[in-house]
Symmetry: none
Subunit: 126 residues, 2 copies
DNA sequence: TCGGGTGTTCACCGGTCTTTCACCAGGTAT
DNA sequence: ATACCTGGTGAAAGACCGGTGAACACCCGA
């Protein structure tokens, strides 16, 4: 049994989150990618933290909205989509070789550093 | 970086199914095969969960339909066939050395990890 | 006041998902 | 053998979902 200081699954009160080449400091509102600090807005940062804290699992859009915006996601609200996009752009620009935000249609988003894989021939599409 | 993730923590994550090299998290809509997350649609995922939960027994198509689609299977409905196929393709692509979905003609499907037969050439279909 | 950054909403579009159809192969019954 | 049944497979139509650019209002500092 672990008597570790990190109850990984438990609550995310971590001082610093390391995800791939990302270093996220929720307390300081700071994200460092490859030694370079990212310039994120409040929403972008909140979204990133919420994603990074989900331990590689899928987070439903309702939950994301709840955690970042607070309150229930109303039908037709596209804020999440817009900010997922903004985040993707900034992460992509900071770390072009790594994909972090993965869409699971109908389920939500998953945050995990995966190499932006070279194109392969799609046999039967997916 | 941790190779072992959070499931070691306090919570009994009994909602996780392990079948062969597959790790299925019905609650999270997530399937991991060999450390890699699968990208399944809602139907594909539902079907996989229904199959994986039947403990290696044969599931009749009527029951499958009932559990995944909800409602009675109408004559002529081929949805199950189509999605069995889609699932097979994705599982095959993720774990080429293992067959999971076995057809029992006239009875239903059985879900069980079995090694793909050594080497054969699927030249003209099968 | 002006200007830039930020957050929200809208509109459009493109890709994905689901269902349905058509056709085929292999097995079963007649 | 012939007809039938059952499931495999590819494709197409429409619904649905998410990606993306842009417009707009707001806030705040210069």
């Amino acid at each position: 049994m672990l008597t570790r200081t990190m109850e990984a699954a438990g609550r995310p009160h971590d001082d610093v989150l390391y995800v791939g080449a990302l270093e996220i400091r929720p307390m300081d509102g700071l994200v460092v990618a490859g030694g370079r600090a990212l310039n994120l807005s409040v929403r972008e940062f909140g979204l990133l933290v919420a994603l990074a804290r989900s331990g590689g699992g899928i987070v439903r859009r309702e939950d994301l909205y709840q955690r970042v915006w607070g309150g229930a996601l109303r039908g037709g609200d596209r804020s999440i989509d817009v900010y997922i996009h903004k985040l993707r752009v900034k992460l992509e620009e900071a770390l072009p070789d790594c994909r972090f935000i993965h869409t699971h249609v109908g389920f939500g988003y998953r945050f995990s550093p995966e190499p932006s894989h070279a194109f392969h021939i799609p046999a039967t599409g997916r």
